[in-house]
Amino acid sequence: MEWSHPIGIWIGAIGTLALFSLIYRENWLYRLFEHMFIGLAAGYTIKAAWDEILETQWWNPMVHDGQWPWVFALFGGFLFYTIFTKRYNWMSRISIGVLLGFAAGQAFQATANLYIPQIRGSFKPLWVNEGMLRAGSGLTPLGQSLNNILFVVIIVTVMTYFFFSFEQRNKVVQGTARTGRLMLMFAFGAIFGSTVMARMALLIDRVWFLMHDWLGIG
């Protein structure tokens, strides 16, 4: 079955242009479609929450498979909504505490698995021979050695920059931290450029929708 319909495309196109009108000035048309968007998104959230999770993992096991303890999950979920009341809103912290507790408990494994390989990978050989080169890297042993030295130097300098436990008075430490700060600029420059690229891709997708799907151009 098709996903698109001409009427839907027209509504989508008019809404897109209305939402784009914000770049000129906020106006009633923008606000109208903004509210429509929020409503549709919220309505979809209801559908997804029930269809994808609650019906299959809570309602069916509880009602059809005899797993009655799932009633307590309803109680836990209900406690979240007490946040809207003045008298009972402290109870929402019980359910929030449960979720936060689970997340905190997972942090030990997650941190270990995430960072131990990173720490291991940071101890790079500063002198590389032919046998240590990765196949297809195209580098010479000297080139790889220089890369590794630079890699380690940058990690050390940047970590020095972020060391705030005591004041950095020593000139060597200060110089190292300043170098780390300069190295960070490379990272931020890359992030800045790629952020612009990401935003442009979003705009290009919408313009293509208007041109190709709506007007049939291109």
Partner: protein, 278 residues
């Protein structure tokens, strides 16, 4: 001269918007045939799919909504295209935004028609899960018990041919995620250590620079750098999809950005030279 330098620093934003729009429209209409070098990260992703164990299932996780579909939709498309070309069975799963599951479903249905893939036999949609970490921990131990049923037919997973022999993460041959947020932390932290399956990531361009550290440590076997990564993957697959067309206006827009920044800075230095305020 000082009037020019002032103007260069204060171009009306409506002219900027109009210029950007024109550049995008022209870029989409007029394809400039330029070379696109395939980077090692995209190639790593491609090789991981090429070398994936055909006896195991691939998991394609999606964590994006229409707000980032400009980058994530083509990424999802090329990954699924490659999996289907290799006749690998795969399972879709969605986290983060509830929209992901339907967005991925739509792309998979479209490609499945072209490749003769049948739902339930070669592919399946495991649906959306609100909690990432708990679900991943559960999948490592027991996939069927954690996810219970599929999203489309609402039947127990064990009833589907595609899930035959799939019990937990050890039966997964490849993990690929297309994401608009930092979910790689959960996969790397809770799953990757428990399996030999290569983990490949397709983030939006915003997140891509921060992931090179995981490429270096070998935790990620490949990465698609936003829309550019999707275009590189299309080159590797030998197809010319939307991304190959879209990379032209992306390039032109970036050039425009740097030109504008250059003009603004030139105006600033020129007015400083004349003794004006920057």
């Amino acid at each position: 001269m000082s009037a020019l330098s002032e103007t260069l620093q204060t171009i009306d934003r409506r002219y900027l918007y109009a210029t950007l729009l024109i550049i995008v429209i022209v870029g989409l209409l007029v394809e400039i045939p330029l070379p696109l070098a395939v980077g090692p990260q995209a190639r790593g992703f491609y090789d991981a799919v090429e070398q994936a164990d055909p006896n195991k299932i691939a998991i394609v996780s999606t964590l994006w909504s229409a707000s980032t579909q400009g980058e994530n939709r083509p990424q999802t498309r090329v990954i699924l295209e490659h999996l289907m070309r290799r006749k690998l069975r795969f399972a879709l799963i969605a986290f983060g935004d509830p929209q992901s599951t339907i967005l991925a479903q739509e792309i998979a249905e479209d490609l499945a028609r072209a490749h003769g893939y049948e739902y339930g036999k070669q592919w399946i949609n495991l649906g959306y899960r609100a909690d990432i970490a708990g679900t991943l921990k559960g999948i490592v131990r027991d996939l069927n018990e954690t996810l219970k049923q599929d999203s489309i037919r609402n039947r127990p997973l064990a009833q589907f041919e595609v899930m035959r022999g799939v019990h937990n993460i050890r039966d997964v041959g490849l993990i690929a995620e297309v994401s608009a947020s930092g979910n790689y932390v959960s996969w790397l932290g809770l799953v990757v250590g428990s399996t030999d399956a290569p983990f490949c990531y397709a983030p939006t361009s915003v997140m891509a620079p921060e992931l090179y550290t995981y490429i270096d440590s070998g935790q990620m076997k490949g990465m698609l750098f936003g829309i550019k990564g999707a275009a590189e993957y299309e080159r590797l697959l030998g197809i010319r999809g939307f991304t190959s067309r879209a990379i032209t206006p992306v390039s032109l827009a970036l050039v425009l950005l740097f030109v504008l920044i250059g003009l603004g800075n030139y105006g600033m230095y020129a007015s400083r030279k004349k003794g004006g305020t920057a």
